[in-house]
């Protein structure tokens, strides 16, 4: 258990620090890289939670595909790649307040609600096969819906981004 806790500590520290840096950095490419760190940290946490397929997908889809998309977006919009750009709006204190309020109330109610509930560690472990069984039986229709959604998004993105 201790090892898991240590790992959790390290990973969550990475995730949180990276996330914070992501939303505060002035360099947009750095921000994208911080996001990669966040996503990777989260992937590792999924492994910690015995969700191997989710972790794999996280790495493949997010770090592989989504991040590439972001980098394309950054380049195509000719974002200034230097350090000099003000990336945060004037209203950031208000935004910080709102975020703090929201986070605070959520954390408060979580502490209130779950207190010191322990995570169930001796429950069943679902491997990739179990997940695929579930996806292709119980959730077959949502799965198909998501595939249609992806198709629609694909076409939509193409239509939107076409030059003419």
């Amino acid at each position: 258990m201790v090892a898991q806790n240590i790992f959790f500590g390290i990973l969550s520290a990475i995730v949180i620090v990276s996330a914070l840096r992501m939303v505060t950095t002035r360099n947009i490419v750095h921000a994208a890289l911080y996001l990669v760190a966040v996503l990777a940290g989260l992937g590792a946490l999924y492994v910690l939670l015995t969700a191997e397929f989710v972790a794999t997908t996280q790495v493949l889809v997010y770090i592989g595909a989504v991040m590439v998309l972001f980098l394309f977006g950054i380049m195509l919009t000719k974002a200034p790649l230097g350090n000099e750009m003000e990336m945060t709006g004037k209203q950031w204190p208000l935004a910080a307040l709102v975020a703090a309020l929201l986070g605070g109330v959520t954390i408060y109610s979580l502490l209130n609600g779950f207190g010191s509930d322990r995570l169930v560690t001796d429950g069943p472990v679902y491997r990739t096969a179990d997940v695929s069984d579930e996806v292709f039986s119980t959730y077959i229709i949502p799965f198909e819906a998501v595939s249609v959604l992806l198709l629609a998004a694909l076409i939509g993105a193409i239509v939107l981004a076409r030059k003419d």
Partner: protein, 732 residues
């Protein structure tokens, strides 16, 4: 008895005539011929009223069994008659008492009842309105008092209709004039046969509105509309008393029915004294406004701004007696409320007497002939109210009856004069008209004599009864009222002589050539003058008729008109005729005429003499010295009456009472303005506006939020979500 039970057709006819004239007159009948409709209707009304009057006398003479009420002599066995009365008064069948009732009717005071107590004919028609589960009917209440007024209203209205065809010929609102005459007649007839006090109120207000419309008939001129407004508003002030008084009656007896109210009081006098006192005082205010009693009389002289026939009909003969009529109709209320039987002065008698006095005094100071007559009307109405106040019910109604005729005649005569003399009413521009207008002159003099109370004209008989009534009273005499009455008798004779002097005698002071009015005006004058002579015959005292063997015809008004079915229960008695009182009254009137005669006629005579003969003028100085009497009259008596007293009264009237009324109106307006400006717009509205401004400025502040920037909206969204979550967390 058909007419008595279906008396509702009588007011219905002029009401229909009103609708026909107003809505179809101009288009289908012709604007200059609408009077045909009005006169026809009034003719019909007159005939039906006459039938009703005749049938009522038949009912009194040969009463059907259900009309008689068993009578006990209240003077003797007051103790044991209560039980019976409750049953009897509601018309139980006492067939065996038929004719016996006359024996019972207390005749302890000589003039007393010689006839049985006859119940009025009450017909109710429908559920007029209902409330609290009780249905209130509309109906007619016909008794002698009603038919008397029916005859008065119908006769004078008819004559005024005829007279007006000439007087207002070619007027720009001829149609409306006749329409409102008809409506007025309908309303007045409706009023006199009211079965319940709600109907009294309705009729009372409706005649007021007609009065308003007719005073303001020539509304292009502001003074006329001012007068109309003043009349209406003054009456409205009195109406507060009317409404409150009637409500107190309702609250006390839980009924609006006049018959029931009167019966309840007369069978059980003494009960509800306080409530009746309050009601009587309130109603007195209404009477003061409608019947021109002090201190609400000021509208009546102003009301002379209306056409003269209207003044004759409304402001002399009929509408202004509505107050007197109402007192008479609800006499038990006033009798008990003011303790008329036992007191020797009360509010009603005092107001009446005082009004009579100041009215007569004011009549001296006027130069406008109609205003003299108006003040005279005020004075005479005061007489009637005083008569009712001293318990002389019959005398008051008798005077109402006679006064209606001779005062209408006087007004129409004044109208005739003005018609001839270029529409002026200023007596200083008249004079010497007796030669040019012989008919008008004669009728005017006859009516003036009647008004002055000269034997044997109508006014003599009725005035005599009033003076007698105040002398004798019921249980106590009313000495102060007697003094007032005597003074007024003297003054009335005097100012009427003055009017005749200025109008008809001396030299013509106007311009143009006065001419006698056409027949259509003089015939009504003669009819009214005839009534001014004869009307007294309706209630002659017995001793006068005994020598010629006609004592059966004595006291006809008392016999037929008096609602003894109610008054008997109150123990109302009638004084014995008194020759002394009659002679005193006559002497006062004659001396009034004589004094004025000496004052005016003698002086003019001397002037004429001095102009004819220059030697005589020298002798005139001596004569003048001999005529210190003139000085006495002129400078001492008349001048004190005329200048300081009358002027003071006039000034008081114009400056204090009238000013009070005006000031009250202006103050109300100023208060209104003040309240509106400072409280309404300032405080209440201001605070509301301040709140609105607060909302507005906060809205201005909030407007900046509407930046259109997604992130701002996002902040709001998440912020609000956070706040809601916090609230939720705290609450749950």
């Amino acid at each position: 008895m058909w007419m008595l039970e279906n008396a509702f057709v009588i007011p219905l006819i002029p009401a229909i005539s009103f609708v026909v004239i107003l809505f179809f007159g101009k288009r289908y009948i012709g604007a200059d011929r609408v009077h045909i409709v009005g006169i026809t209707a009034l003719g019909l009304v007159w005939v039906l009223s006459a039938v009703a009057a005749f049938q009522w006398t038949q009912r009194v003479e040969n009463p059907p069994p259900d009309a008689i009420v068993q009578v006990h002599d209240h003077g003797d066995d007051h103790g044991d008659d209560h039980g019976d009365d409750h049953g009897d008064d509601h018309g139980d069948d006492h067939g065996d008492d038929h004719g016996v009732g006359s024996g019972h009717a207390g005749d302890g005071h000589g003039g007393g009842h010689s006839s049985p107590l006859i119940r009025p004919v009450i017909s109710t028609f429908s559920d007029w309105w209902s409330n609290a589960g009780v249905n209130f009917a509309v109906g007619t209440f016909v008794d002698g008092q009603t038919v008397l007024l029916l005859m008065v209203v119908a006769s004078i209205s008819l004559l005024v209709h005829i007279y007006s065809t000439e007087y207002v010929k070619g007027d720009r609102r001829y149609v409306h004039y006749y329409a409102f005459l008809s409506l007025f007649t309908a309303a007045m007839l409706f009023f006199v046969m009211a079965q319940n006090i709600i109907q009294l109120i309705v009729g009372w207000e409706l005649v007021g509105v007609c009065s308003f419309a007719l005073i303001g008939h020539w509304w292009e001129d502001k003074p006329n509309t001012d007068a109309a407004l003043k009349a209406f508003l003054t009456n409205r002030v009195g109406d507060v008393g009317l409404l409150v008084g009637m409500i107190v009656l309702w609250g006390t007896f839980k009924t609006f029915d006049i018959d029931v109210i009167n019966t309840m009081i007369s069978t059980n006098p003494g009960a509800h004294h306080l409530a009746l006192l309050v009601a009587a005082c309130c109603l007195m205010a209404a009477v003061a406004s409608k019947s021109g009693q002090f201190p609400l009389h000021t509208w009546l002289p102003d009301a002379m701004a209306g056409p003269t026939p209207v003044s004759a009909l409304i402001h002399a003969a009929t509408m202004v007696v509505a107050g007197v009529y109402m007192i008479a109709r609800l006499y038990p209320v006033f009798y008990e409320g003011f303790s008329i039987g036992t007191s020797s002065i009360n509010l009603m008698a005092f107001i009446g007497g005082f009004t009579a006095l100041i009215g007569a005094g004011l009549a001296f100071a006027q130069w406008d002939i109609k205003k003299v007559l108006a003040y005279s009307t005020v004075s005479q109405l005061g007489y009637m109210v005083m008569a009712l106040g001293v318990g002389a019910w019959t005398a008051a109604i008798f005077h109402l009856f006679t006064h209606a005729f001779f005062k209408a005649c006087l007004f129409l005569g004044a109208g005739s004069v003005s018609h001839a003399a270029h529409h002026t009413f200023d007596m200083r521009k008249m004079g010497g008209l007796r030669k040019d207008m012989p008919h008008t002159y004669r009728t005017f003099v006859i009516s003036s004599l009647a008004l002055a109370g000269i034997f044997p004209f109508a006014g003599f008989w009725s005035k005599d009864e009033i003076l007698l009534g105040s002398l004798v009273g019921q249980q106590n005499g009313y000495p102060l009222m007697l003094i007032f009455g005597c003074a007024v008798a003297l003054m009335t004779a005097a100012y009427m002589t003055r009017v005749i002097w200025y109008t008809f005698h001396g030299e013509f002071r106007g311009h143009g050539h006065p001419h006698e009015s056409p027949k259509v005006m003089t015939v009504p004058l003669w009819i009214l003058a005839g009534m001014a002579v004869l009307a007294g015959a309706f209630n002659l005292p017995g001793p006068v008729l005994e020598p010629i063997g006609l004592e059966g015809l004595a006291h006809r008004i008392q016999t037929y008109a008096e609602p003894s079915v109610y008054l008997n229960g109150l123990g109302l008695s009638h004084p014995d005729p008194s020759l002394t009182m009659a002679l005193v009254g006559l002497a006062l009137a004659v001396s009034g005429i004589l004094i004025t005669y000496l004052y005016y006629w003698r002086r003019i005579g001397l002037h004429g003499l001095t102009e004819r003969n220059r030697y005589a003028r020298r002798g005139y100085t001596i004569l003048e010295n001999k005529y210190y009497l003139d000085h006495l009259y002129n400078d001492v008596i008349v001048e004190t009456v005329k200048r300081p007293v009358a002027k003071w009264a006039n000034r008081f009237n114009q400056n204090v009472i009238d000013r009070t009324v005006n000031t009250a109106g202006e103050t109300a307006r100023d208060v209104g303005r003040w309240v509106y400006k400072w409280i309404d717009q300032g405080a209440i509205d201001g605070s509301v506006n301040a709140a609105a401004r607060g909302a507005d400025s906060s809205g201005e502040g909030l407007r900046s939020i509407q930046s259109g920037k997604v992130q701002n909206y996002g902040q709001l969204l998440f912020g609000a979500a956070a706040v809601l979550a916090i609230v939720f967390v705290i609450v749950v």
